[in-house]
Symmetry: C2
Subunit: 934 residues, 2 copies
Amino acid sequence: MGSTNYIYRFREGDADMRDLLGGKGANLCEMARLGLPVPPGFVITTEACREYYRLGGALPEGLWDSIQQHVAEIEEAVGRRFGDLTNPLLVSVRSGSKFSMPGMMDTILNLGLNDDTVDGLAQATGDRRFALDSFRRFIQLFAKVALHLEAEPFDDAVAEAKTRTGAASDAELDPDALQEILERFREIIRERSSTPFPSDPWEQLRIAVQAVFESWNSARATAYREHHRIPHDIGTAVNVLAMVFGNSGWDSSTGVCFSRSPTTGDRELYGEYLPNAQGEDVVSGARTPKPIAGLADEVPDVYRELVEIVDRLERHYADVQDVEFTVEHGRLYVLQTRSAKRTAAAAVKTALDMAREGLISHEEAVRRVPAEDLSQLLVPRFDEAAKQEAIRQGRRLAQGLNASPGAATGRIVFDAETAASADSDESLILVRPETSPDDMPGILRAAAILTSRGGITSHAAVVTRGLGKPAVVGCASLRVDTRRRLLSANGTELHEGEEISIDGFSGEVFAGRIETVTPDVSGTGELALLLTWADEIRRLDVRANADTPDDARQALTFGAQGIGLCRTEHMFFQPERLPFVREMLTQAPAVSLMKSEIEDARGAVNQATGEAREAAQKRLRAAEARLANSEDAKAYGTALDRLAEYQTADFRDILRIMDGKPVVIRLLDAPLHEFLPPYESLLQEVAVLRATGGDPQALEEKERLLESAKSLQEANPMLGHRGCRLGLTYPDVYEMQVLAIARATCDLAREGLDPRPEVMIPLVMDASELRALNARLERVTREAEDCPQPVTIPFGTMIELPRAALTADRIAPEVRFFSFGSNDLTQMTFGFSRDDAEEKFLSFYLESGLLPRNPFQQLDEAGVGRLIRIAVEEGRAANPELELGLCGEHGGDPDSIDFCHRAGLDYVSCSALRLPIARLAAAQATLAQRERDA
Amino acid sequence: MGSTNYIYRFREGDADMRDLLGGKGANLCEMARLGLPVPPGFVITTEACREYYRLGGALPEGLWDSIQQHVAEIEEAVGRRFGDLTNPLLVSVRSGSKFSMPGMMDTILNLGLNDDTVDGLAQATGDRRFALDSFRRFIQLFAKVALHLEAEPFDDAVAEAKTRTGAASDAELDPDALQEILERFREIIRERSSTPFPSDPWEQLRIAVQAVFESWNSARATAYREHHRIPHDIGTAVNVLAMVFGNSGWDSSTGVCFSRSPTTGDRELYGEYLPNAQGEDVVSGARTPKPIAGLADEVPDVYRELVEIVDRLERHYADVQDVEFTVEHGRLYVLQTRSAKRTAAAAVKTALDMAREGLISHEEAVRRVPAEDLSQLLVPRFDEAAKQEAIRQGRRLAQGLNASPGAATGRIVFDAETAASADSDESLILVRPETSPDDMPGILRAAAILTSRGGITSHAAVVTRGLGKPAVVGCASLRVDTRRRLLSANGTELHEGEEISIDGFSGEVFAGRIETVTPDVSGTGELALLLTWADEIRRLDVRANADTPDDARQALTFGAQGIGLCRTEHMFFQPERLPFVREMLTQAPAVSLMKSEIEDARGAVNQATGEAREAAQKRLRAAEARLANSEDAKAYGTALDRLAEYQTADFRDILRIMDGKPVVIRLLDAPLHEFLPPYESLLQEVAVLRATGGDPQALEEKERLLESAKSLQEANPMLGHRGCRLGLTYPDVYEMQVLAIARATCDLAREGLDPRPEVMIPLVMDASELRALNARLERVTREAEDCPQPVTIPFGTMIELPRAALTADRIAPEVRFFSFGSNDLTQMTFGFSRDDAEEKFLSFYLESGLLPRNPFQQLDEAGVGRLIRIAVEEGRAANPELELGLCGEHGGDPDSIDFCHRAGLDYVSCSALRLPIARLAAAQATLAQRERDA
């Protein structure tokens, strides 16, 4: 056999061989085949690397012989010999795996130099300074990468020499200074290395190849692969190239350029270069590179050639290219080409442009833009220059968690009430230790939210993401003193009313004002065009989670095909309604009791005989009288009627805006105590009133409220009396809501519109709940007032409890649709409370790698996803007409959307601001499916 | 075809035809075949009933002709004719389905009488009173069952006549009085019935047969089947028999007798009879029956014959028989036989006796005793006479939920502290509105618990069941005023120190003392023998949930094969340890932070260079000094050391008792705040101290505690920072526990014992948690002090989160065993908080049939069971050596144990007091499996 399997000459490989040659190697081969000026060289395959590990860290048999033969071919090609004392060949040894892992693995340049060959190089080039500089670079890199010595003493030696000689940069160090540095390097290695520095170039090469193999399994490379879900067993290739020297004089240079701007996407050569330098000088930032246009003035021929090459590469690869080049004494070499990383704006523009130029198809354009990146384009951001200015001015106060994207400046308010009652034309930032559902009116009013506690799944974070408002949360270094109305951080104190700026993209908090830039998402923009292409491809429908008419309008702008989740609890929080809500909820248990007493007595009358029967009749009359005369029951009835009116108007407005499109309305889901004043403050108030002998009437009133709050208090409200459990135990609430939906529907139908409400029952765990509720609620729709056409409202259910998913076959026949409530399903499946997990342990789990991703952001396929698949499969089998959607926050996450596509759902629903992301991700899911099918 | 399919003569059927003939019919046939004196008759099959319903409520074709033919055969046999004016045949029409549904369906007696035939009957028997009495009975029953009239006016008419004539009972009504009653009956029917009373006997019979068919679907029958899980579509048979008359004079009688005592199981004829009566008189309680022995004196021949028949039936059926008989003018007839319902004591005794008599096999004896019934035998109960006396004295105060079986009398205490500090020789009943984990010391001390709030899955209920103490909870009519130390109910007030009695079987609460009877569960008793037979049969092992040495000893007495769940949190609640626990928990976050600062700094030192490196070294030294000098850290270390000592002693004691048997020790699981003083009371105290300007030092102390409590407060502790999440974030706690286990194991091994601890990690949701913990904890066991033999402690995990079950294939390779924590798994799968559900909505769900059974009592197979099956199947596939158990409360529930057997678990674990039930149920599960396999 022999080792030829393990090595490919550049002219033997091509761009399709990334698996075997790595990305860099495959592209070097491709460029060589295209006849571009690539230095001669070869690739040691990833298979050799895998074999190296299989052998427990030894070069596979025959590999070394083969390497030597291929180096001989390089010698032949360039007319220099490895280790030659007069005209030595130098090589670079570069890592490169199938997937880009920038900076994670090692590379060694200028290999082949030693005390003898450095003289040869000096002689052959007639440039002693260059030869010594190259040797200096080689030792520095080799010591770190191959000998695993600390970089610090070497850096110190160079820095000292610069200070001593007054050189402004490495490039200005003269041969004497370099000679002294090399002396110092030798000392350092003697002191610190257990193995001596190898002077034999072949020995250097062998060690370097092994060091690159080893760097595949370095801690940082392993962590990087973990994070980016790159398999650990594919290994890296090793590229060995003849060195070309950008540091061989002022007619030499090295640089990087892009075929189009990676920032704006504009079609122009974009990049920078550094004369008399090697690539690492550009990266280290020791010297400031020049704009690429400078090359046109300095060496117009080289520039022209570069433009041609880059243009050819872009056309060849049909993608924006990021090209590394070196000019050696006026001769251009290309050392690497790859697809360019780019901003979201550039991604959209280049994808569209290239499609219009005929370089790529519409599908390919859609595939090219990372869906998640669109979030950058959809909300205001700080003007970058203004933000940098603020940092220079020392106005950056703190760093929190980037909970909800966007940027905002406004005046500080420390409580929700103040915010809610402020003038409407002023921008406010609500600053709290943390937020609770009680703060909703203030949150709705504020431009952005800042909290010192809580994680990215805390109340503030979840609500603001839903609302599309910027938020920074869990900003622990911030002290929020709501009593003294004072915010302090980093030595600065800010009072209520002072201006503050928060960056929801980065989590930064600034004192004072920073100008914002508002995105252009008009219907005629570039993004809109890309999304229409995505819409033509995708199979999944995309709906919005929208609770208000404003939400609904915004959802339409962003392309919603309906509303997948209209939560009704938010409607209940409005200040003018809250009193009625509280009246209804606090009286519901008593009124329910009165009603069930009547039913009990009626049952007894029907069954008993004799005296018992008479007693029962008396009891029935008494119970009926009690209900009829109860002030509480009257207040309860009034509250229900008023809420029914409010809700009818709510639904009419939303259904009107969404005319002809489905609107899934979820009946009340929240635990009741969320609508009452906070239990803890009542507890404290009552204790103080009692201890201080305060106003007895005030005490009595507070005690009554406390009693109510206590009776609604639950140890674990998330697992408590909410969702359809409320609808079953206090039937009036759901009946009121369904009546309002039916009335709104009738009203609009009478106007000739096409309202399409769907009723969604939350928190179902068994088909029996739906049987009980549907019968009762469908009767309510029938009993609603006369309608020009019969009101038939489809009923469906949230699948958000594991048991609902596990018994989907029984639930499906009772409903028209399932909507997966993936937030709650994640909570129950993991046993994670969103309210608690983030702060207490979830961030620890993410940091320590116990969880690779936050399951509230990206749907967990192994657990939650498995339940969804069970429900999809068994639900559809039991009811082939079943419509299937998902309305948790995952509905706006690209990976989760891909899962929804694969699981066979009909639609996803997400907050309006994420609709463009969802539309694009859904199209990409379709394309990925086609690729798998092909 | 023809209708013969639908009817069987008694001599044509047999006892194996219950499906087709119902239980009663099949046994009547069997007795007829045995030649016993059964009145002639026939059975209309259940298939006829099903066909009746298929036809929408019409008799199947040909059935009526066939009925007439078969009645003719009865006429032939008894020599009387149906509707005959001189010697009329009367029949009874009796319901009877495959499964016993006592009293749920209808029966009509004395059918065939009208104004004409009643005279004939009077003539033929020479007894006008008897004829009129029979007619009176017939009308009364027929009006109710077939005409659906209310019973009341008829009852009233009879009562009036008795008053008017001074008759003490129905049997003393003379012919004139009866004649008047019949007049009155006719009036009532005219007034109230839309259809006239049918005088044609054939018409009566047709209506009666249909009425029996219809009674299959009556509301009460449907509800009964629902409750007992009897299918709704099997229908009832109808038995038509020639009437024999126990009311035909004082030489006639009717009665019920048992082949052995259904109360004690003693081998003696047991029962009662009523002279000159029909069966309904015995049931209605209008007259008091005589003991069966009286029959021996009155009619010795009849008695002898009865003894013989009953004895023959018992031998024939090989089970205790419940026989209905009638004596007509000195001639004995048997009307029904069936297996006798019996008390638990009688069930055990008769099963053993009959096996010893050779009537049944050991297996059959084991099958015969309902496992759940054993609970009656295992705890003290009130002496029945003493309890009845208390009721008569009006001492019954209230009725609550029977949360934990047993009965107790003791003095009232209103708080746990008082209870815990009381003299140890006094019986105390802890009376609270509800209990919390803080009350544990008092609960441990008290003889029984009574609460006014909470359901049968509330804290008080769960804890007492675990401890085997009686408890009545959710006793809503009780007012517990802990401030005034006063309990009031039903007009009675009781003060602290006064005596109260509670019955955990029935949920009743009494003022004052009631004598209790303590069960005999000695190793030589009847039950012990039955259980050894069960042990020979069962495949499932049975372990105990036991947290203390006392628990462990009791568990051994009751036959535990090991400890399946030893909870360590209970150990932490002991008063002398609580301060150390609080010290450890409140300092853990700060100390963890200090430790992670040190690690951070160490990492920075290793990576940084130059000035950054120096700064990092400074930071490292500072962090190390902070930890070394921290008073908090010292206190924390001391607390950990003390707790390690306590825990070592705990584990040593338990492992010593369980020498040679496995002891599964669960590491700390409870949310931390359970160990701190209640947050709410701290909140109130601090508010009051602030408002009243109280002692600043006290305020500061309380504020510090409040801060701690607040930082541990969680919105949903059940889904929060507990279980292995604690073990991962605060590693010292678990390391301390495992160290204590290893030390205890070493100590005992050194003594030559065979300790077998197993460590169980709670609340795992992903294999990564186990990988992280096992590595660290196994190192702790290795580092434990020298041991004569190496300490290898198996590690396992609770499967109590849906995600753990769904990813069991990944978890299984990391562990030696799974133990299903079915309590938490039920909570997560249903989204039910045990603490909240019972009171707020679960009882509503059970009452309204939304849930057929409480899923915390009987394992839900559709949801929770499915997850368990997934975990069993996929866990075993991934690790064939995996041991599988279940340690939730379901481990003591017979139906759930049957599921565990079917699911292929290796063992169940339950509280010590339920071990006998579990042993028996496990054997019955094996027998049921054998039956299915056969």
